[in-house]
Symmetry: none
Subunit: 143 residues, 2 copies
């Protein structure tokens, strides 16, 4: 397979990622050390593009670097024990579901505020969003 070759700058452009971030991902072990030119410049190809895309998207979804490493194991070790792969995928799916639930609650809270705040031209004194965030929550009576 003679893939098209990319410089780190081209890779970065293709993945909407900064060059420094690619360096960083290499340093922390998310990206492999690629081949180099005579002069020491990194040479990338399509699999690197895909991998970096995967990393970026996973990060955007709120996965931590260490979690992304876990996810990448699915790719790096395709001959994994089937049961093990299944277990990891299921565990990850549970984590994802929890995140979805959290965000859903958050969105509801925001939306509720917005719908209560009907008028745009009221002074903030009357703004229910401000009120909602400002009011002391009832569970902190204890000394």
């Amino acid at each position: 397979m003679n893939y098209e070759k990319y410089s780190i700058g081209q890779l970065a452009k293709k993945t909407a990622c900064k060059v420094e971030t690619v360096h960083y991902y290499e340093k922390v072990g998310l990206m492999p050390e690629p081949p180099r030119t005579e002069g020491g410049h990194r040479i990338y190809s399509l699999p690197h593009v895909k991998r970096l895309n995967f990393i970026r998207r996973s990060r955007d979804l709120g996965f931590r670097i260490e979690q992304v490493k876990e996810l990448l194991k699915f790719i790096d070790e395709p001959n994994h024990y089937c049961g093990e792969v299944k277990e990891m995928a299921m565990q990850q799916a549970r984590v994802v579901q929890e995140k979805i639930d959290d965000l859903q609650r958050l969105k509801s809270a925001l939306n509720e505020m917005v719908t209560h705040c009907t008028a745009g031209d009221k002074p903030v004194d009357d703004c229910p969003i401000v009120d909602a965030l400002y009011t002391e929550n009832s569970t902190n009576k204890a000394t």
Copy 2:
């Protein structure tokens, strides 16, 4: 108005916030420099509790420190309008919805993988997780 007085520890407890975090909020200008005792200990009262509550809740909703400062300006300076607050909340809700959508896609991919694994000894080369995250946002085919 002789409000009840609180030490920083009591304030922290009331707002489920750490003492160090209160220090930090003071340093970055979210919390005001409160009056002190002879010996230099900070003295807080109810308005501080409310303000810190507002800050914590806003942070939990995903607003950044700078955004919280914006929101607090609405409170500190009365010449603002409800519409400005509403707009920020709506923007935040849109961001959250995008995250939810992304996570939903990832969860589907993970679940799909789990069912693949259930089938038995299928290789994971054709990984649905990679596909899910390597979406067709790749408008970057051309150089």
